[in-house]
Amino acid sequence: MIITKRREWQRVLDDLGSVEARRVFVVGCGECATAAHTGGEPEVAEACERLAASGFEVTGSCVPEVTCHAGGVRLETRKNAAAIQDADALVVLACGAGTQTVADAVAKPVFPGLESAFLGTTVRHGVFEERCQMCGECVLDATGGICPVTACPKGMLNGPCGGMWDGMCDVLDDRECVHVRIRARLAEQGRDVARTLPPKDHSKKLKPARLSVKEHRPDGSVR
């Protein structure tokens, strides 16, 4: 899921100040930001209180099921049309995709209440680790299901680098070298540990990306 963290509160206040907003509507997200404890019902309620304490009038709030779903957000904003109409601006406690989805759905200034951090895994309650760069050319088949593009600070496909010492990473010295981990896992599974991977094809990740299931055949080719 998309891991988000709180945006510096003063920046949120400055953003609202930039359009001289006095009345604010708050939007959360029922999906990733709820799981990340940054934009679920409790966090939206807390943001409303903080805004009120800072002298803003909160006209209302909502937590759409999935704030990055354009159809769902349009429906949710229609349900809250009066309160949104009454507001000078909106603050969205969701990832950047969610914030933009809301910004497309309403004719008001929309500001981010969170920072999008990474695509990751909940390793235990409230602790998240980055797992994927969405590079468009997965190497997990060759790396024992551990992503070096993400977990190696240098994103090297063929490591370890010269900083590895006693199996530990040099850049993040509290972590094992991901290339040593990959090697160990492949060896445990009796798989080829000697492969040299070719350079990545960064054209697979050109932005802005767009994808339609209608254009993709079951074999992965594009119509």
Binding site: P153, K154, G155, M156, L157, N158, G159, P160, C161, G162, G163, M164, W165, D166, G167, D170, V171, C177, H179, V180, R183, V193, A194, T196, P198, P199, K200, H202
Partner: protein, 290 residues
Amino acid sequence: MSRLREALERGEFVITGEIAPPRGSDVSAMRETMALVGPLCHALNITDNQGASLHMSSLGACLVALEMGFEPIFQQTCRDRNRLALQSDLMAAWALGIENVLMVTGDDPRSGDHPQAKGVFDVDSTQLLRIAKDMNEGRDMQGRPLAGGTGFYLGAAMFPEAEPWDAQLARTVGKIEAGARFFQTQAVFDLEKLARAVDALHAHGAKVIAGVLFLRSPRVIDFVNEHLAGLRVPDHVARRIKSAPDPLEAAIDLAVEQVAAIREIADGVHVMPLGLDGRVPEVLERAGVL
């Protein structure tokens, strides 16, 4: 043909030195160091934004070495340039008379003096060796013919003391398969591990130039342990220097012993005097390698 390559292939024990380009445009101090160390060496490594900190480009400083009659080893890190820039610098280097390159991945930007920089790492050192090998064969990494190829003697880094050894060895063999013909090591203190590495690499036909650091003071030892990647000064060595009445002289004695020992094990020695450039002639002479 590269003097370094010729000497190594002839079986001569080689000496390489290390030159850090300046942080600025004044090359006078670098020239002085080159004038001091250059005549003793088969080739001089010219570092590429070493420690992820800003310095004049290796390519530019290589030209200064060439101009002074010394043979440079052009270091290329993958940290600061993408595959287009790396290839175009290789073309320029060969056209301008540089014959040796050392490919390294490079320290992470967050360990240097521009921690806000974006680390490029478009390719890694193994992949870059493969690219350079292709260029030696007259084509770019897309397989298109070059209007004039290159003929570099390709080098890479290796770390004989870094455990687990199987991971280190596999990566080194991967680099040989990608085109590396010689390796330069980080400073080595454990000679048994050095011998293990040399034997393994000789089996693949590659040469090994082992590193020696002049650990001039207790402060330098602490710095090395904290900031240099891929080595750790062992406690017994640190104690020997730190407890000596004159740590600097103890460091010089240690370097002499190390060079003499490396002479018996490896194909060459890579001298990193950490500012004690003036003592390099004496160390090499006392070790019996000049």
